[in-house]
């Protein structure tokens, strides 16, 4: 049994994560039925993530899949999409990613390849006693002083779905913990930042 995490950002600024956890279980894939008894007799290059017979886009690179299948025979493959597996460490660890500390890895190994630039200590302190939230990590330009940031905090505090806010002046980030029920919206956050006179340059959403 094993797995391979894989994440893809589907649109700018939004951490739409899909992890394909490939397990050697049931759920046979249709192409396997058509083509092979031994699936390693051919390369999957160019077709695996384009032409699945169920019409879905599998979003697994052919190279990754080939490497995964190397030396495997007589297996079926289940491909599982998982939300909330935001970093490599979490992928190895989790049912609940906050059972562990993010120390030393949070800003290094986001699986979307971006650098979150929030210190692990800060993130852990922020998450302390929070449950059932998603976190928006907002990159803000022009947030050069405490006074500027205070307006941002006050603006977001008016939103009843906001559970907690933290400002990281060093890295120009605002952490906003939203209730799970909130559909975190890029343009809504961008407008609120702009209403305070700063500009948003990026948004990452950690589904926790």
């Amino acid at each position: 049994m094993g797995f391979t995490p894989y994440v893809q950002i589907l649109k700018k600024g939004e951490l739409m994560k899909k992890i394909l956890l490939t397990l050697l279980l049931a759920s046979p894939l249709a192409w396997a039925e058509q083509d092979h008894a031994n699936m390693h007799d051919h390369s999957h290059e160019g077709h695996l993530h384009d032409t699945m017979v169920d019409g879905k886009n599998l979003d697994v690179s052919a190279e990754r899949f080939d490497a995964f299948m190397n030396e495997l025979t007589n297996v079926n493959v289940a491909v599982v999409s998982v939300k909330g597996m935001v970093c490599d460490f979490c992928a190895r660890d989790h049912a609940n990613m906050h059972d562990h500390s993010h120390e030393g890895h949070l800003h290094d190994t986001m699986v979307d390849g971006k650098n979150l630039d929030v210190s692990a200590e800060r993130f852990d302190a922020f998450m302390n006693e929070l449950t059932n939230v998603n976190v928006a990590v907002v990159s803000v330009k022009g947030m050069v002083c405490d006074f500027c940031a205070r307006g941002i905090a006050k603006t977001f505090e008016k939103d009843k779905t906001v559970q907690k806010i933290d400002v990281d002046l060093d890295n120009g980030k605002v952490l906003i913990a939203y209730s799970k029920s909130k559909d975190i919206n890029y343009s809504e956050i961008e407008k609120k930042i702009l209403s305070n006179g700063q500009s948003m340059s990026d948004l990452q959403i950690l589904e926790i």
Partner: protein
């Protein structure tokens, strides 16, 4: 009233550059300033991030008069980067009880978390005496870079000139702010104390 006010009005209507709040949108600020020329208390409100409106009551120490102004400040331009912010403001005020008395001017600043620079120019049309101008330039450095919620400190140097008193002075200032409160004071043997208190809510 006259050509100046029309120019100011046109100026305000024409400018539509990207700007930011004087305070944040919906924010109210109260400030007290005292220097060799004026003691004033000023309350302003920012309906949007682009401008503020307010009332100022100033005691003019030179003329020994009290002046009440309607004030309007507009952020003409702002440039945000990852590490800095640059602002250019237009400021104006008109006497509540005599529209022939008014002032207008520009002030601007550029700052990072460590460095600050600013300038200001104000032209006052006086109804009970000579017209005059105020100008200043200011430079500052933060001796340490504080985190959100910390006490923040700036060491600054300011040079200012007033055409009515014909004085120019250069003096050090200290600025502290924490949360929504700001305190700034400086001292010069020519102009004595320069005090500025501000609270934003």
């Amino acid at each position: 009233m006259g050509i100046y006010k029309i120019i100011i009005l046109v100026f305000l209507m024409v400018f539509n550059a990207d700007a930011r709040p004087i305070s944040y949108s919906g924010g109210t600020t109260i400030m007290y300033k005292s220097d060799t020329f004026n003691d004033s208390i000023y309350l302003h409100y920012s309906p949007t991030y682009k401008y503020s409106i307010g009332l100022e009551r100033a005691k003019n120490k030179f003329y020994k008069s009290t002046e009440n102004y309607f004030r309007f400040t507009y952020l003409v331009n702002r440039k945000n980067t990852d590490i800095s912010q640059r602002n250019l403001y237009f400021q104006s005020g008109v006497l509540v009880d005599d529209a022939d008395g008014f002032f207008y001017g520009m002030h601007g600043d550029w700052e990072t978390r460590r460095w600050f620079s600013g300038f200001g120019y104000k032209d006052t049309k006086n109804t009970f005496g000579q017209d005059y101008t105020d100008q200043y330039i200011q430079l500052g450095v933060a001796p340490y870079v504080g985190d959100y919620g910390d006490l923040h400190t700036w060491i600054m140097i300011k040079t200012k000139k007033n055409s009515l008193t014909n004085t120019q002075s250069t003096y050090p200032e200290l600025k502290f702010f924490k949360g929504s409160t700001l305190v700034k004071f400086g001292y010069s043997d020519k102009t004595e104390w320069d005090l500025h208190l501000m609270y934003r809510f």
